[in-house]
Amino acid sequence: MTSQNPDAFLPLRPVEFQILLVLARGDRHGYAIIQAAEEQTAGQMRLETGTLYRALRRLADAGLVRPSARRPAPDLDDERRRYFGITPLGRKVAAAEARRMANLVETARASALLTKTT
C-alpha cells in the first residue's frame, strides 16, 4: 500500500462510499450489502451484482475492505457465502469522505443553495 493517508482516496465514488457505510455497521455478504444499501438510501441506490463486486474488488485492492472470517451464528449462516468487512483504514476513509461531504453541504448552505430543513 502506497499511502495510509485517508484523504488520498477522496473523492470516493457513490457506490464505494455507500458500501463503506453499510460495512461500517458490521460484516455482510454480497446480497446483504445490496439490501442494506437500498434501505439506507430509501431505494435510491439499487446495486447490481457486477457493479457491487467490481467496487468490492477495488475497495479490497485499496485496502479499505477485506474478506472477513467472522460469521454471525453458524446455524443462521450459509457456509458458502463470503463476508466482507471494513478495515480500520476503510473506516478512516469513509469518515474523511463524510467530512468532505459535510463541508460541501455547509458551503452549499452558505451559498444559499440549500435551506435547512426543520
Binding site: G30, Y31, R57, R80
Partner: protein, 911 residues
Amino acid sequence: MTRRPTVAVRLFRLLLRLYPREVREAQGADMEETFGDRYAAVRSRRERQGLVHFWVRAVWDVAANAVLERRDRRRPRRRRDGITKRLRGVTVLETFGQDLRYALRRLRKSPGFTAIAVVIMGLGIGANAAIFSIVNAVLFRPLPYEKPSELVKIFTSEQDDATPGAVSYPDFEEYQVVAGLFSGAAVHEMTMLSVTGDAGSEMVFGEHQSWNYLSLLGLVPSLGRTFVPEEGERGASEPVTIVSHAAWRRRHGGDPDIIGKTVRLNGRPVTIVGVGPEGFSGSAVGITSDYWVPWGTAGLLEPEIAEGLERRGRRSLFMTARLEPGVTRDQVRSALNVVARRLGEEYPETNEGRVVTVLPASRVRLHPIIDRALYPVAGLLMAVVGLVLAVACSNLANLLLLRASSRRKEVAVRLAIGASRRRLVAQLLTESTLLGVIGGVVGLALAQWAARMLVSFRPPLPFPVAVDLSLDWRVLAFALGLAVLTGALFGLAPALKASRPDLVPALKDETGSLGLGRRRLSLKNALVVVQVAVSLVLLIGAGLFVRSLVNTQQTDPGFEVATTAYATVNLTLSGYDDHRGREFLRRMVERLGAHPGVEAVGLADMLPLGFGIQTRDVTIPGFEPPPGEEEVSVDFAVVDGGYFEALRVPLSRGRLFNARDAEDVGQVAIVNAAMAKRYWGSVDVVGERFRLGQSGEAPEVEIVGVAQDTKVRTLSEGARPLLYLPFSQQSGLFASVVVRATGDPSSLPEVMRREIQALDSSVPIFEAKTMSEQLAVALFAPRMGAVLLACFGVLAMVLASIGLYGVVAFSAAQRTREVGVRIALGAQRAQVVGMVVREGLGLVVVGVLVGLGLSALVMRPVAGLLYAVRPGDPLTFAAVAVLLVIVAVLASYVPARRAARTDPLVALRYE
C-alpha cells in the same frame, strides 16, 4: 454442501464468461450466490414485468462491468468525473433505454413475428457459432500457458523447402545454450505407450518431455510434483511418469493417493510422481496424451529412444522456449541460424543447409504443416455457414420490411406530429438489433448443442480426440457481435424505407392493392431471389458431395471387406527382439488359423486404406524417372503369403511368398499390376529385377508374382503402384494380422484380442476391428463433408421457404380486397390459388436461374474434392432445382389456399 444451481443462476454463470478469467475465478462463485438471492427475491414478488426488467438490468450490468474489468487490465484506470460522463454518454444512454423499452414492448405485442424472427436468426447465428466454436477450439483458443506471448516454438527445415520440421536432441542442446535468448527451453515428442491394466494391454498416446517442460509452460501439477533434472538425463535409473489429469480421472478413477503408485508402461512398472494440471491434456490440440515421461525414463521404456537422442539426424522433437524479456523472435532466428550454419559445417551429413524457423507458440496447434492445411478447411466451412447466415439475414430483412408496411400508419402519424426521421430510424434499428441479439442468444444455445453433436460424430480413430468446446469469450463475442451487426445492418434498409412512407395515402389508411406482380424489382422480391439462389448453391454443393460419397462407397477397394477383420500389435514395446517376435507372430497365425470359422490368416505391416503411408525408393533398370522427379518412389507393404488369401487379392502371374523365401539368398517381391505396367509397360514381369534404394549397391530384388490392383491410400485414387515385400525377409515387430471368416466377421476382433492376450498378455493391441469398420475411417472425411453440407443446405432451404411463405402470405393478405372482388365476380378458387402461387413461383424461378449460374462458377474449385462427379453434374443441378421449385410451390400454396377461402363479403365490407 452445494445446492443445484437453478436455470437462472446457470444463465448468469454463462454471462460471467464475459469477465476475465482471474476475476471469474476469484469472485464468480460469490457473484452467483448473490445473484441467486436477488433473483429469488424478485421472483417471489411474482411480477413478470419485474422479472424482465431485472434480467435486462442484470445483463447490462454484467456486460458493462466485464468490459470495464477487461479494460482495467489492459491499461490503468483513468478516473472520470461525473460531469464529463453526463455530457457524453448518459443522454444517449437514456434515449437508448427508451428505444429499448419501446422495442421490447413492440416485440411482446406481436409474439408470432418475434418468434419467427428469433428462430430464423437463431438458426443462422447458431450454425455460424457452432462451426466457429469448433474452429476456435482447434485454431484459436489460447493454450493454458503462462505468459504465452513469451513462448516460441523452434523448427528447422531444409534451406530450399518451406515446410518447418522438428529438431534433434543434439541440435536442441546446442540451440538451448545460446546466451541471452531464452529463460528456459525444452523439447517434447508424441509417442505411443502400452499400458497394462487388469483388462490387458492397450496403446495410448504419451509424451516424452524435458524435465522442465511443464514448468517452462507455467503449468503446475494438480497433485504431486514435476520432474527433477536427474529424471531428464540419459542414464536415469528409476522410471517415473506424470499422468495427465484426464487420464487420472479416466484410468485411475481420480485416486487421490495415486502419487507413489506404479503403472505398467511398455511392460515396466513406472512410478507416478504427479498428476497433470486440469485443462491441459497434452501438447497437441485435440489429441489427449495420457502419460508423460521424462527423457531419462523414455530411454528405459524404449531403448531405441536412448540411442536416438544421440543421433543428430533423428529430428522428431518439438522445441519450445521462453524468451528473455525484450528478446524478439527475429533476434532468436538470426542467433540460432548462426549456430545452425556452424552445425552444418561440423556435421554436413546431417545438418548441411538446415535453417531455423521461430514461430509464436500460440500459432502452433498440431504441427505447422497440418495447421496450414486446416486454415482453408476452416475458411471453407465458415464460408458455407456464412451463406446460411446470409439467407437468414435477408429473411429477417424481409420480415422487417413486411412489418414496416403494416406499420405505415403508425410511422406516418409519428412523422406527421414531428418525430425526426433519425429518431425513428434509431428506434427501428434498436428493434431489429434486439431481435438479432435475442436470436444470437438462442443461436448460442443451439450452437453449443450442435457443436457437441458434431464432435460426437467422432472419427473412428484408435485414440481419444478431445476438443475443448466450452464457451469462451471469443465464441461469445463472435456470436453476439454477429447478432448485433446483422441485426443492425439488415434492419437498416427496412428502417430507412419504413421511415419514408407516402404520408397522405398512409394516413388515409389505404393499404393499396399493389401485389408483388406490379413492382417486380422491389427490395422484398430481390431478397427472396437472393435466398433462393444462395440456398440453391448450398444444396447443389451438398448434392455433389453426396453423389461423390455414394460413388466412393460403391468403389471396389480390390480386396475382401465384408468378411475380414484385423488386429495390430506392437512387439517392440513389450521388449521382443526380431527372433522372438517372428516366433510370436508365427504362433499367433497358427492359433488364429485353427480357430473355427476362420478361413485364412495373413500378416502385414500396413493395411491398405489405413492411416499411414510408407514409400520406398526403387531403381528400375531401363526406367527413366520423368523430368522433375529425381527418384522413383512407390508405396509398399510387408506381407506374408497368407495376406493375399485372407484379403482375396488374386495373383495374375507368378507365385505367392512362401516359407522358402526366408532362407533364399536373393530377395523377392510381388508387385501389383499398376506398378508392373507403369515401370515395365506390361504385367509379364515375373523374373524381372530391380533395386531397393537409389544407389548401385542397393540390394537387388526379383519379382516372383504380380497381384491385382487394390486401393492403397484412398478409395478415390486411380490405380496406384504398390510393392509387396515378404515378411520373412524384413524385420517386422509392428504387425497387423488379417483374418477372413467363413461368414460374419463381427466377433473376430474379440477373438483376436483373446488369442493374442492368451499368447502373451503384455503385448499391447493397437487396435482390433473388422475391415468394414476400418473402411469407415477412410470414408469419414467425405461422409462428414456430405453430412455437413447437406445439413446446411437443407437449413438454408427451410429458411428460404419460410421467407417465401412470408412474402407470399403478406402479398396475398394485401390483396384481400382484390381477391374478394375477383371471387365476387365469379373467379374459381383454383384460379385464385394459381394466381397467388404463380407470383411466388416467378420469384423462385428467377432465384433458381441465378443460383444455377452462381453454382456453375462456385463449384469449379471444389472439383478436387469430388470423386467421379463433375462439378457441373447436370443430374445434381437439375434435381436440386426441381426440389427447390417443389418446395417453393408448397410454401406458396398454403397462403394461396387461405387467400382462395376469402369470403367476398368480409373482404369487401371495408370498401
